[in-house]
Structure formats: C-alpha cells, structure tokens
C-alpha cells in the first residue's frame, strides 16, 4: 500500500486525466457519434426494410385474397344473373303462352257465340219462313177445302162437336 502511494505520480495523473478527457471529447464528436448514429440508422433501415417487405407480402396476400373473393363474388353474381334471366324468360314465355291461350279461348268463344247466334237466327228465320210457308200452305189448303158451302158447314159442325167435347 505504501509502495502504491509512493508510486503515485501527480504529474502522470494530471496528464492522464487531461489527455483522456481530450481523447473522450474528440472521439465523442468525431468517432462515436457518427459511428453509433450510422449503426443505429442502418439498423433502423434494415428493420424498416424488413417490415416493409413483410407488409408488402401481407398486402400482396391480401390483394390476392381480395381478388379471389372478387372473382368468386363475380361468379356468384353471374350465376344469379343467369338464373334470374332464365326465370324471367320462363316467366315471360309462360305469361305469353297464357295470354295467347286466353286470347285463343276468347276467339274460340266469340266464334262459338257467333256461330250460336247465327244458328239461332237461322233457326228463327227458318221458323218464320216455315211458319209463313205453312200458313200459305194452310191458306191454300183452307181455300181449297172451304171452296164449297157444305164443306164449310161440315167443318163448322165438326168444330162445334169438338167444343162440346170440351
């Protein structure tokens, strides 16, 4: 211990302190600061690059899945559209068919009615015709029958007989 104290030199201590402090300040300003800054900057750059690469990857994956989704959605939509179109077509065709049938039915009905009316009028006409014909026939017959007085008398008798029966 005594030897240590004896060895201690104020001059060397002084110079060591001064020189070390100078060294510390020079190195701090011109070496440690730029080196540490660059190192940390590089580390940040690496970290950021890795992060951005990771992000890009994620984005790409997201984009891909989005695309896939989009495609799937489009497919579904297309299918739905097609189905709808088919349905619409069927509906339109069905409707048209129904309408046509109705129209046809109506036409047929109208025809039937017309035919019926024609028939009825024809029958009526025929009836009148036949009535007038029979009247004229009857007139002619009556005229022939009633051309003599006795014939008229026998008829009148006959008629009277009929009435009595009644």
């Amino acid at each position: 211990m005594e030897k240590l104290i004896e060895q201690f030199s104020v001059g060397l201590f002084f110079w060591q302190t001064i020189l070390f402090l100078i060294l510390l300040f020079i190195l701090k300003k011109y070496a440690w600061k730029p080196i540490l800054d660059s190192v940390s900057e590089r580390e940040n750059t690496i970290r950021e690059s890795l992060d951005s690469a990771e992000n890009a990857k994620k984005e790409l994956a997201e984009l891909q899945s989005k695309n896939e989704n989009l495609i799937a959605e489009a497919k579904i939509e297309r299918d739905a559209l097609l189905k709808e179109a088919r349905e619409l077509k069927d509906k339109i065709v069905g409707e048209a068919k129904g309408e046509a049938k109705e129209e046809a039915d109506k036409i047929v009905q109208a025809a039937h009615a017309a035919i019926e009316a024609e028939k009825a009028s024809a029958i009526a006409e025929m009836k009148t015709e036949m009535a007038s014909l029979s009247i004229s026939i009857a007139e002619k017959i009556i005229r022939k029958e009633l051309s003599s007085d006795d014939k008229q008398k026998s008829l009148a008798n006959e008629l009277v007989a009929d009435i009595k029966l009644n």
Binding site: L4, Q7, F8, S9, V10, G11, L12, F13, F14, W15, Q16, T17, L19, F20, I22, L23, L24, I26, L27, K28, Y30, A31, W32, K33, P34, I35, L36, S38, V39, E41, R42, T45
Partner: protein
Amino acid sequence: MQCRSALLTKKINYFCTKFRNVIRQVIMQFTRALFFLAVLVLSQPVLLNASGHAEHAADSIQNTPIEHSHSEGHEAMTMKEEIKAHISHHLQDSYGFHLFTDTETNTHYGFPLPVILIDNGLQIFSSSKFHHGESVAESNGNYYTLYHGKIYKTDESGFMPMHDGHVHNEKPLDFSITKNVFSIMVLSFLLVLLFMGAAKSYKKSLVPTGTARFLEPLVIFVRDEIAIPNIGEKHYKKFMSYLLTVFFFIWFVNLFGLTPLGINVTNSISVTFALAIMTFIITQVSGKAEYWKHIFWMPGVPVPMKILLAPIELLGIFIKPFALLIRLYANITAGHVVLMSLIGLMFIFHSWIGSSLSFALAVSLSLLELLVAALQAYIFTMLTALYFGSAVAEHEHH
C-alpha cells in the same frame, strides 16, 4: 410434417447456442482460474524476491552511477541483479523513452522527453540533461537530480542527504511529459486516427468498409453486451462515449504494453486511478434519488438494518472504484512482472532445456496476456457500466 421438422431444427439450434454459451463460460472460467493460478505460483518467488531485495535492488541502481564513475573495471552487476533492476525499472515511469542499453559500451538507445517542473516558476528542459541519472540537471539556476526514477531538488554537487535510507530532498511538482504520458499521447492520437477513419467510411454508405468493418463489431459489442444489459435501454446512450473510450483506451494501452517498446501505462497506479476516479465522478453525478436512497436508507429492510447498512453502502461507493483501479493495475503489473521474469529466466538458465522451457512458458504467457489485455478492458468497462446502471436504475418496489 414439415412444420415438425422445422420445430426440431429450431430446438436443435436453441440447444446448440445454449451449449456453446456454457462451453464459452467454462473456458472463460477455466482460463481465468488458470491465469490466477499461474500468477499466484509464478509471482510468489518474484514478489518474495522483490520485497526481500527491494532495498538491495534499489541500492544497486543507486550505486550504478557511482560504480561507473569510480571504477570502470569493476565487475558489472550479476545477471540476476541486472534482470531485477530491469524489471523494476520497467515498472516505473521514466523521463526518457528508453528502448535498450548496451551495457558494455554504456550507451542508451532511445530519446529524451521534456521535463516540466513547477518550482520557482515553470522549469522546462530536456531529460537528456540528466544523462540517465548520471549527472545533475540545471535549469535557471535550479539543480535537479534523478533518484529512484523521481526528480529531487539538489545543489550543484548533487548533494543528497540520506536519513534511514530515505532521501529528504525537496520534490518539485512534476508535470513532465514522461514515457507514460508520451505513450498515452501517441496511443490517443492513434485511437483518434483509427476511429475517425472508421467514422469517415460511414459517410459514403451505411455499410462499413476498411477498418470500420473490424471496429464496428467491437463498438456494437460494447453497446449490446456491456452498456445495454447493465445500464438499460433507456439511459445507456449518454454513457456510450465514455464506455467506448475507456474500453478502447485500456485495450490499446494493454496491447501496446505487450510490444517490445516497453510501454507500461496501465501498470502505473496514477493512470488507473485517473480512470477509476472518472468512473466514480460520473457515477455520483448521474446518481438519481433512487441511488442515494439505496445507499443511505435501504428500502425493504428493518430500521436497525437500514442504520447498519448506510455506512457500509457509503463505504461501498469508494471501495468500488478502488477495486476497479487496483484490479486493472494489479493484473497488468502481475502480467508484466511474470512475463519479464520468464524472459529473464531464459538468460539465467544457461542450459537449452531450461531456457527453451521458460521460452515456451513466456510465449504461452504472452498469449494469455493478449487475452488479459482485452479481458481487463472488458471488465473495467463492464463494471463501470454496472456502476452507471446502479446510479440510474429505477427500481420497482416489491
């Protein structure tokens, strides 16, 4: 099926990392234990010798100039003494950058450094005036002499009265650019150059090039393994500069201490003291209310315990940085002493078996010292971060 195999590989990976961590820890523990054992075993004789012969060695150093001046033909120091003197000389700071000495011609290789003293004003002169402790230096009518690696005031003749083996001459306030100061300057400059170069490469692109590619993992290591786990994500940023500077400073200084240049900055107590006191000051300054509360009025314990704990905790504030400074100092000093002793042993053993054995030991110890250089820097920084962490911690109360 695929998912299951993936899970299996994940599990296997998990166990692999766990296993690797365990192995790493075991190796770390083992190396540490080995190192301490080695230091303990190897340093004992050295330290015993050193303490036993401290005065003797000192005498031999002191006597050297006299010997040289009085009788050139006198038998030179023995090999052992020379090695001992060399080691103790290495462990001390010096006023010149001394590389080696040719003892035969007594010429020293190296270069002098400026001596700055505050004594009757500022006295600045070159350390070459001491002629390696062989002559008295004169500056503006003041005379100084070098004794035991320290500068004392003296007169023209170099008169040094001794009492009970101690010198009582006046010691001037010494702010010299010593070898350690010079080394710190050069290494700091090197650090600035290196890291500014590294920082510059980030201006072009965020991907590091050149030295930055090597230094960046170390910087990130300090941030992710030392600062963030100990201080926390929230507060660590403001301490980063200090932690990084301390880590690289200690590591570089330790590494250069292993070169043959003989730099020994971290095994001078003044340097580790300066570092520890900075840690201490920063810790106290950034200490939040919570920190002080944990020192003076420990929450969650009964009142008598609180009173008992307060002085202990208060003492702990000072013991922590003290342990920090002693740990670094002792580890590096022990390493240098053991390594130099082993190198010295190569010359003492005059047989090829002994010398090569100690050579092999010295090589393996150098490798271990390489680890210790980084380990001590790591431990110092880690503990510093731990203290900062305790200063800014926000405890959730139980």
